[in-house]
């Protein structure tokens, strides 16, 4: 962080008049091949969904989706050539998302470890212990 910011401060300090923004233009080829790759992945993910891998279905689909997402982010969104900080921003948002889902599931998937009944869910919240149903 220190190195990065210091160079930045320097650049900032010695900026010369007119320091213009020069765009970083990518060759057309990159866009087209990215697009083709995305289409191919879409076909693959649909095709794969007809095969049953059991518990792995979800993970395979997510893996393909992540490949597609990386292509979009790196190439269409230019992250590959951008300031590194922008990539850090994106990656950290995914980390926080992972924390959110992971920690929440550490609760929801582990209820009832100490007292098994805490894992169950009453069907009718108005009558959780089935007292009133026989009379109705």
């Amino acid at each position: 962080m220190a190195t990065h910011s210091d160079t930045h401060a320097d650049v900032h300090g010695h900026a010369h008049g007119g320091a213009d923004h020069v765009p970083h233009v990518l060759p057309l080829k990159i866009y087209i091949s990215t697009w083709i790759a995305l289409m191919v992945f879409t076909v693959i993910t649909v095709a794969v969904s007809y095969v049953d891998f059991g518990d792995f279905n979800l993970w395979i689909a997510m893996l393909i989706a992540t490949c597609k997402a990386s292509l979009v982010a790196l190439l269409f969104m230019h992250l590959r050539w951008d300031e590194r900080f922008n990539s850090i921003i994106l990656v950290s948002s995914l980390i926080f998302l992972g924390i959110f889902i992971g920690f929440t599931m550490s609760d929801t998937d582990n209820r009832g470890r100490a007292e098994p009944i805490e894992h169950d869910r009453p069907l009718d919240i108005k009558d959780p212990f089935g007292l009133q149903s026989p009379q109705q």
């Binding site: 962080m1 220190a2 910011s5 210091d6 930045h8 401060a9 900032h12 300090g13 010695h14 900080f85 950290s92 948002s93 926080f96 924390i99 959110f100 920690f103 929440t104 550490s106 609760d107 929801t108 998937d109 582990n110 209820r111 009832g112 470890r113 100490a114 805490e118 869910r121 919240i125």
Partner: protein, 550 residues
């Protein structure tokens, strides 16, 4: 860091002679409502949050008055539930969260880093308008049936049972969330991109670090509040079932969603307070901050670890034992960086030249109250002990020690510290000092009592309480009047200064950071020309030797 070694002093541009200050630059209400000057926007935020503080404070006094006797004192149970809910919602969403970042932060950050404005000035004004709109929608509930869910909006009470204007308040909070996000975004980009030449990260005042960390939290956590409130609104309007147990949903899941935001939000509230205290202690002791990097990084660490501990609000919610254990452990870890800060502040006093100006008095009040708030948090982080203390007055006392004794006191301390800069007026030191002392006494009377109540088993949000608790409740209520008087006196002191105050010098406290190197009040673009920074914000002994800044 090589730069910290090359010490010089700030190339101070002359204090804005010739240019007109930001307050007089543009007349009439329209010039204020259309301004993109961060200082004017900060000032408008300041007015708004102080107003919200008064509204929330009146609700607090009403709640305390009701609790003078075990059953009805001045209002019905329904009225009481609305009063404390509105107290909470107004204080949290309209006061504490925007208080320091949006008012003082907006005013100070660009000046402190030597910029002319925040990175996105129009966005800044836009977020003020969003805040006003959200606040109005929230407050519209006052005439449209109130709200009685508690500020936590727990389902299924909020989604199914309550007949009050839940949607207004949640929609208002949802909208204000955007304001909070945009402010945070603006600050981060400002600090990354608009620091003046020579202003390296480690030369920034610690308030900037604190607000940087705060902004991170605002950006990451607030959207989750957004989706939570949106789902709640849909749940209430259409019964979609995600949180509704009758339809197979899970009310505990709502709590995860809510606290994923609202626990980090606690750090949105307290981190800026930390930043202010770092400034006040350093400047009023004219002492190089002890452990600059430790304080700076602990802010960031708190912000990050703060995302890992939300489940400690849910130890008895029906959450799994495993989750409870993980969350409890991480809660203890997050205590460390807060502790580091307190030790560093205390050490900064060592070898300083301490003057007990009003801001410094507030800083000392903060130090004591926050220490109590932090240490009592340890009780609540302990799994077994929380079984007894959860949802009792112990919790109420603990978070008031942090939120009021911490944030609100820091806010007032900061207000007194930068008031001369913001308005160009000096206030009565006597008024300020008396208000700090009254706040200290009143606060402890009100809230220390509540540790007794909570330990002894008094649950929170109780209208009718067990008769045995009355003496303590009555004492607490009396304390609330002293506390109210303290804050009121503080506000009056400041307002009176607008009329009678002496003209403030550019640098009344002998501060070294950039805001003290420009005029009081500053000109519209803050500095006559872009400042070049050659030393850190607190390099006191060396600057003292050169003596230009007094």
């Amino acid at each position: 860091m090589s730069q910290t070694a090359t010490v010089d002093h700030v190339v101070a541009p002359d204090s804005g002679k010739g240019a007109v200050d930001y307050i007089r630059n543009g007349k009439g209400i329209v010039s204020w409502l259309t301004t993109i000057d961060h200082k004017r926007i900060g000032l408008m935020y300041l007015g708004s949050v102080v107003l919200a503080f008064l509204v929330g404070g009146l609700f607090a006094l009403a709640v305390r008055l009701e609790l003078l006797t075990p059953s009805r004192t001045i209002m019905s149970a329904a009225g009481y539930n609305q009063a404390y809910t509105l107290h909470g919602a107004v204080m949290v969403f309209l006061f504490i969260i925007p208080s320091i970042p949006a008012s003082l932060g907006n005013f100070l950050i660009p000046i402190m880093v030597g910029a002319k404005d925040v990175a996105f000035p129009k966005l800044n004004l836009f977020s003020l308008y969003i805040f006003w709109i959200g606040a109005l929608i929230t407050l519209s509930s006052l005439v449209l049936g109130g709200i009685d869910t508690g500020w936590t909006f727990y389902v299924p009470y909020s989604s199914r049972v309550s007949t009050t204007a839940v949607v207004n308040v949640t929609l208002g909070a949802f909208i204000m969330g955007f304001s909070s996000i945009l402010t945070g975004l603006n600050f981060i980009v400002t600090m990354h991109k608009l620091r003046a030449p020579g202003m390296s990260w480690y030369r920034m005042p610690l308030l900037c670090w604190a607000l940087y960390a705060t902004s991170l939290v605002q950006i990451v956590a607030t959207p989750v509040l957004g989706i939570t409130l949106l789902l709640l609104i849909f749940e209430r309007a259409f019964q979609i079932g995600i949180f509704d147990p009758a339809l197979g949903g899970d009310p505990v899941l709502f709590q995860h969603f809510f606290w994923f935001y609202s626990h980090p939000a606690v750090y949105i509230m307290i981190l800026p307070g930390f930043g202010i205290i770092s400034e006040l202690i350093a400047v009023h002791s004219r002492r190089k901050v002890f452990g600059y990097k430790a304080i700076a990084f602990s802010s960031v660490a708190i912000a990050l670890i703060g995302f890992l501990v939300w489940g400690h609000h849910m130890f008895v919610s029906g959450q799994s034992e495993l989750a409870g254990t993980i969350f409890s452990f991480l809660t203890f870890i997050v205590a460390i960086p807060s502790g580091i800060k307190v030790f560093n502040w205390t050490s900064t006093l060592w070898g300083g030249s301490i003057k007990l100006d009003t801001p410094m008095l507030y800083a000392l009040v903060f130090l004591i109250l926050f220490t109590i708030g932090g240490l009592t948090g340890v009780f609540l982080g302990m799994l077994g002990v929380d079984l007894h203390l959860h949802d009792t007055y112990f919790v109420v006392a603990h978070f008031h020690y942090v939120m009021v004794g911490g944030t609100a006191v820091a806010f007032f301390g900061g207000l007194f510290h930068w008031w001369p800069k913001m308005t160009g007026k000096m206030y009565s030191e006597k008024g300020g000092a008396v208000s700090a002392i009254l706040v200290f006494i009143g606060f402890n009377m009100t809230f220390f009592t509540q540790f007794f109540l909570g330990s002894r088993g008094m649950p929170r949000r109780y209208y009718n309480y067990l008769d045995q608790f009355q003496p303590l409740h009555a004492f607490s209520t009396v304390g609330s009047w002293v506390l109210g008087a303290g804050f009121a006196l503080g506000i009056v002191t400041l307002l009176v200064s607008l009329k009678n105050g002496k003209q403030a010098p550019a640098n009344p406290w002998g501060g070294l950071s950039l805001e003290w190197q420009t005029a009081s009040p500053p000109i519209t673009e803050n500095f006559e020309s872009t400042p070049v920074v050659t030393h850190g914000a607190y390099d006191y002994p060396l600057a003292q030797g050169q003596k230009e800044h007094a």
